[in-house]
């Protein structure tokens, strides 16, 4: 049975139709944390976040507190919030920016104060037209209330926040590509090292990049203390987390549940969560953390929803999006569509990714639509091996960023788990699913 013992941290206003308004936000404890933070020393605010052990909610799962402490020695110039949510099947930040923009804004101001940054940018996916409007309105409200701008709320701290619309590019979710987009350029990921924008970020200056959900957790952490957050969850995976559940389930949606205390089975089958498989069919497999992640079979349904727990089994919790495929799903088509996505979104800088993704997509296309050959199986794996040598997890990299090394995940999973399905496609001259 799913555990619902943990409080709701980022979705506490979910039940209100006007959850996005300043009035509702103030009435439900909004901006109390900011006032509290401003009475503390900035480093003490940062220490609370460190104590919370809040893992970044973007996909890589790097501890937010440690990201900040890398900058303790040298002052940070900019705070950039990554709201370019584009990992297929991930839709949690979409929910947060539309439904609780003030919570995000408050989190951003708290982070800026802790880091003593005076200018922050919220880089938001361009396709979030309503989200962009809601966040801009929240910023306007915050300025009017004196919570943004010069010497906020009578303190000696000044902060400006600018919302920056993206323009349709998956790769801009990669933090160095995002910074390029913020500098007005093509979204090409930067060569590493330097590995972190903390060393060289926007305009080559020290920059902190944090995800929308990560920011949205900060008001609660300041109000309740880092220890209270760290008491939730288990192991390195503390607190609650948003899971975006999609695919062949009865109730797709965004759910906030405690990490580790719940399993994939709880999320997918509990009637208050996913509600089980559509038409009560059997589950075939599921993707545990966005399409960059290797797939899991039903035997791993009882695995706890924790970062290390999933990593140990050879995949990742990634962006927190779970896609369920049932016994009627064609896995060849699924792998083809995911690969087509990577092919479209490859930025084109690195040969293995640019050429490999298109080639893989064409091979999978012919398997799905007729014309596939048995030799194609080895060809697929060989091409994947050229992008991520050894097909290990975590993958080896031959490219500037991890988009390339994410391409083999679905192909390798589908071929390894369901080779018979591929063989049937060859035998039947294509897909026989409806």
């Amino acid at each position: 049975m799913a555990s619902f013992d943990a409080p709701s941290i980022v979705l506490s206003r979910k039940g209100y139709a006007d959850s996005f308004t300043l009035a509702r936000y103030l009435e439900t404890g909004g901006y109390v944390a900011l006032r509290k933070a401003l009475t503390m020393f900035p480093e003490d605010v940062a220490a609370e976040v460190d104590a919370a052990s809040l893992l970044g909610r973007g996909g890589a799962g790097f501890p937010a507190g440690r990201k900040w402490s890398m900058l303790r020695k040298s002052p940070v110039s900019y705070l950039v919030v990554n709201g370019d949510e584009s990992e297929p099947a991930t839709f949690k930040d979409h929910f947060l920016v539309e439904r609780d923009p003030h919570q995000l804004v408050e989190g951003v101001i708290i982070a800026a104060y802790a880091l003593q940054v005076n200018q922050a940018f919220i880089y938001m996916r361009g396709e979030f037209a309503l989200g962009l409007e809601r966040v801009q309105q929240a910023l306007n409200d915050a300025y009017e209330q004196g919570m943004l701008g010069r010497k906020i709320l009578g303190s000696s701290f000044s902060i400006d926040v600018v919302v920056h619309p993206g323009a349709g590019a998956y790769i801009c979710g990669e933090e160095t590509a995002l910074i390029e987009g913020l500098e007005g350029k093509r979204g090409f990921p930067r060569i590493k090292p330097p590995f972190f924008p903390a060393v060289s970020g926007l305009y080559g200056e020290p920059t902190v990049v944090n995800n929308v959900e990560t920011m949205s957790n900060l008001p609660w952490i300041v109000n309740n203390g880092g220890a209270a957050f760290a008491a939730l969850g288990g192991g390195r995976s503390t607190g609650t987390r948003l899971f975006a559940l999609g695919g062949r389930v009865k109730n797709p949606g965004v759910y906030e549940i405690e990490m580790v205390k719940n399993t994939f089975r709880d999320l997918i089958y509990d009637p208050r969560l996913g509600g089980g498989i559509l038409n009560d069919r059997k589950i075939k497999c599921f993707i545990p953390g966005g399409v960059s992640a290797p797939w899991f079979g039903p035997e791993l349904l009882d695995l706890p929803l924790g970062q290390d727990e999933v990593a140990e089994k050879g995949s990742m919790l990634g962006s927190g999006s779970i896609v369920v495929m049932d016994e009627d799903t064609c896995v060849v088509r699924a792998a083809w569509r995911i690969t087509k996505f990577f092919s479209r979104e490859s930025c084109g800088q690195c040969t293995p990714c640019r050429e490999g993704s298109g080639w893989l997509e064409r091979v999978l296309y012919r398997l799905e639509h007729g014309g596939g050959r048995t030799e194609d199986f080895d060809l697929l794996l060989d091409l994947c091996d050229n992008i991520a040598p050894g097909l290990t997890w975590p993958p080896q990299q031959t490219t500037i960023c991890v988009l390339g090394s994410s391409i083999p995940s679905s192909i390798n999973s589908a071929l390894t788990m369901f080779r018979d399905d591929f063989a049937a496609h060859v035998k039947n001259g294509g897909c026989t699913h409806e």
Binding site: F41, E43, P75, S86, E87, P88, A89, T90, F91, D93, H94, Q116, N118, Q119, G126, E127, F128, A129, L130, L132, E133, Q136, Q137, N140, Y143, L148, G149, R150, S156, F157, S158, I159, D160, V162, H164, P165, G166, A167, G168, G181, E183, G184, K185, G187, Y203, A244, G246, G247, R248, P252, I287, V323, M325, A334, R337, I338, F341, R344, E345, C347
Partner: protein, 207 residues
């Protein structure tokens, strides 16, 4: 002579002032150029180049990287149907095919009356209402062929004008005012804050 209308030009100048470097305003300025012209015209590109201290080639080179920027005219409504994994499992491909029939144009093309441009979208982060459809980057409820046809009919009759502005208009909420933290004062604040923090750290170390 500005190609931008007076109000658009004013907003463009305000946008540039929000960033430490003018080129950073590139993406929002390109959205603004599309708001005026519906797509990126040569004149719009030239003006963005002037505003960002770059060349028209720089602007075009940047714009062509991003899916939301159109270098050719598009319809008043850009209809995006997602066929990525979650939508695929909910009939996204069939929805795209149906959309193509209803609108009478191929994917990537514009309908004969010039009103609709159809696109196959990558994941739009709307997987709970799959298959997900957006019009001008606004979520519209259309998960069945019938709902899609009603949606198109409503758009044709102007019933959704208040929810879905013409293509190009992305953010209708204007920013109220520019930056408020004066740069010189902020620099002073930063120095003071750092000195205070270093003093606290030194005191802590002594203990």
């Amino acid at each position: 002579m500005s190609h931008f209308r007076q109000d658009i030009r004013q907003r463009a100048d305000e946008l540039v002032a929000l960033y430490p470097r003018s080129r950073s305003a590139m993406l929002p300025l390109l959205h603004l150029a599309q708001e005026q012209d519906g797509y990126l015209s040569d004149e719009g590109i030239a003006e963005v180049a002037e505003l960002t201290d770059t060349s028209a080639a720089d602007v075009r080179g940047t714009a062509s990287f991003y899916d939301m920027f159109h270098l050719e005219p598009v319809g008043k409504y850009v209809v995006g149907v997602c066929t990525n994994i979650a939508c695929l499992l909910a009939g996204g491909e069939e929805m795209l095919e149906h959309a193509s029939v209803t609108l009478g144009c191929a994917v990537g093309a514009t309908s004969e009356d010039g009103l609709f441009t159809l696109e196959e979208s990558e994941c739009l982060a709307g997987c709970d209402v799959a298959p997900c459809v957006q019009v001008n980057h606004r979520y519209v409820r259309s998960t069945t062929p019938e709902e899609f046809d009603t949606l198109i009919d409503d758009l044709r009759r102007g019933r959704l004008d208040s929810d879905v502005p013409a293509h190009g208009t992305l953010i209708r909420v204007r920013r109220s005012g520019g930056l408020r933290a004066p740069r010189a004062e902020v620099a002073e604040q930063r120095t003071e804050a750092k000195a205070a923090r270093d003093a606290r750290a030194a005191k802590e170390e002594k203990k």
